[in-house]
Symmetry: C2
Subunit: 215 residues, 2 copies
C-alpha cells in the first residue's frame, strides 16, 4: 500500500471536480486543459494522473469518464465513510444538507447536541440525539469519524469525551486547536486561515525597504 500526500489528494479531488462539473460535456480531456484551469504545470497533472494508473494518449488526452472513475477508485470515493456530527448548529445543518456528500459515500448517521430544544429534531432525515448517547452508539456502530461543529469554548471538553468513547478522526470545523492523544487525528478546517491565504497577495508586510504603494 502506498499513501498519497495531502497535496496530491487535494489536486486529484479538484481534477475530479473538473471532470464532474466544468468539462462534463467533453468526451476527452487533456492535461493542458486541467492544468490551465488550476494554474498548474501540465507535467504535474500527468504525473498525478499516472498515480491513478491512467496514461493519456499524445494529442488525444484522456477519456473523461475513465479518468473520472480512476480517480474515484484511487481516492476511495466509493468506500462508505460513516460519520457523526457533534454540535447541531447552522454549520451542521449546512453539512447535513450537503448533497455532494452522497457522491463521495460520506454518510452522516446522526447528530449530537446537549441543547434539550434540539434533541429529537431531525435535519434532512438525520436525528439529533443527546450527547450522552455517544459512547453507546460509537461502540454499537463502530464509528471512527466525527465532525465537530460545537462552539469553540466547548470544543476541547467535547473532544475529550469523544476520544474517551473511541473516536479516531476529528474533522474540526471549530477554530479551537485540540489536545488529543497521538493515535487521534485532527483535521483543521480553519476557514479564517483560508480567507487569509486567499488574500496573501494583499497582505502588506513592511520590510526594511518597504514603500507605501500598497494600501
Amino acid at each position: 500500500m502506498v499513501n498519497l500526500s495531502g497535496k496530491v489528494i487535494h489536486r486529484l479531488t479538484l481534477y475530479h471536480c473538473i471532470l464532474k462539473y466544468t468539462l462534463i460535456n467533453q468526451e476527452r480531456v487533456s492535461s493542458f486543459e486541467i492544468a490551465d484551469l488550476l494554474n498548474l504545470d501540465d507535467s504535474q497533472v500527468r504525473k498525478d494522473i499516472a498515480l491513478c494508473g491512467v496514461l493519456g494518449r499524445k494529442k488525444q488526452g484522456y477519456a473523461t469518464k475513465d479518468l473520472k472513475r480512476a480517480i474515484e477508485k484511487k481516492l476511495g470515493f466509493q468506500q462508505r465513510k460513516e460519520v457523526f456530527i457533534i454540535g447541531a448548529g447552522h454549520l451542521a445543518m449546512a453539512l447535513t444538507n450537503y448533497t455532494d456528500f452522497n457522491d463521495y459515500a460520506i454518510d452522516i448517521l446522526c447528530l449530537f447536541d446537549n441543547n434539550p430544544n434540539k434533541i429529537g429534531q431531525e435535519i434532512n432525515g438525520k436525528k439529533i440525539l443527546p450527547l450522552e448517547k455517544l459512547p453507546n452508539l460509537i461502540s454499537r456502530v463502530n464509528i471512527k469519524n466525527i465532525i465537530l461543529t460545537v462552539p469553540p469554548e466547548q470544543a476541547q471538553s467535547v473532544t475529550d469525551y469523544a476520544v474517551q468513547c473511541g473516536v479516531q478522526f476529528i474533522w474540526n470545523f471549530t477554530p479551537t486547536v485540540l489536545k488529543v492523544p497521538t493515535n487521534v487525528k485532527v483535521y483543521y478546517e480553519n476557514i479564517i486561515s483560508s480567507f487569509m491565504q486567499m488574500h496573501q497577495e494583499t497582505i502588506t508586510i513592511p520590510s526594511v525597504k518597504a514603500d507605501k504603494k500598497t494600501s
Copy 2:
C-alpha cells in the same frame, strides 16, 4: 513588501487560535507548547513567530497577549474586509451566523440570490438581494471579495457575471472548478478534499503487488 506563503499563514492562524482559545488562561506560552499541540517542530514555531517581529525569551517563552496581538497585526486581522455572499442557502446561513468573522474584521454586507422566495429576507440582519443588483452594488461599495455558495451547476455562470462586475477574489465553497481571467483569484474551499486528506492514512492504494483486499 514581503508576502507570506499559504503554509505560514495557515500555521500563524492556528497559533492565534491556540492563544485565543486553547491556552487563553496562560500569561506566557512557549514555542514547545504550541509545537506540541500541532505536531510541529518547535524551531518551526519560533521561525514563524519571528516573522511577526516577536522574539521569545529562553525558558520564559512569549507573553500570550503580546504574541496574539503581533500575529493579528501581521496577518491584518484588524483590517476590514467586506464581502458579498452569492447563493443564500444553508451554507450561506452558517457563514452569515459565524460570529468569529467579527474578530477577523470579515464583514458580510449582504447576500444575493435569484430565488424570489428568498429575496427580501434577512439572515442575521443581512439582506438577501436579487442577483441583478450585484453590478450596481459592487461599483457603489467597491467590493472585491465574494463568497460563492451557489449550486455547483450555477457556479460558472454566476462567476462569469461577478467577474464582469469587477470581483477579484472568489472564495469558492462550491465543488466547481472555475474558469476565470488571470487577474481574478479563486480559493477552493473544497471540503471533500479535506475529508480525503484527513483519511489519507486509511486510503488503500494497490501497488504492483496489490492483492484484492481493498473493497
